[in-house]
Symmetry: C2
Subunit: 123 residues, 2 copies
Amino acid sequence: MTTTVPLPLAPTADAGCCTPERAPAVTPDTAQDLARTFKALADPARVQLLATVAASPDAEACVCDLTAPVGLSQPTVSHHLKILVEAGLLHREQRGRWAYYRLVPDAVAALAGALTAVTAADD
Amino acid sequence: MTTTVPLPLAPTADAGCCTPERAPAVTPDTAQDLARTFKALADPARVQLLATVAASPDAEACVCDLTAPVGLSQPTVSHHLKILVEAGLLHREQRGRWAYYRLVPDAVAALAGALTAVTAADD
């Protein structure tokens, strides 16, 4: 015969009262979206590329001008840029021979806002 | 006899003038640090855990109250929490049987600030 041990659903005595302990603070969908975007930035070269595009005139740069700052080959840089585009952080436009990448400020601001909301929840 | 091909130090004709094209907008060390922290958040469970801890009273939660919100086993939750601690986003304190995790607001704010700086560079 086996007995089932109930999970500790109720807060322990020394935990704060009145907390919706079991409610996740963000929805699974939101967490999935945020994690996907954070993953796009989980590489130093991609952080440098995003910052370099952002610091370019009109927040736009030709891929031909992005290889030197990060010290990587153009195929590697293009691979990293593709990930940033797929994450919605950069917009890509082909002009003749070269691809140009432009910052999507709203996407970066939304990510910063999500982090700020986390600290704002601390009250 | 070999000849060396100079790297394109000067901006190309159709690039904006006066841009330090070859200077990375963030230092390699900063990019490395940021990427490492973003990597800690590149998982939906970790995003949910960080947000749930942040939304707890005093931005602190017992690991025993964190398994239900994310619907994962305690070893898995502990693994994810360890990554958040190593990234400096949470502080861990053992109290008797249970580990308690507290938000490190400055670390989250620094990350948000780095993203805000990226958008601010767009001028």
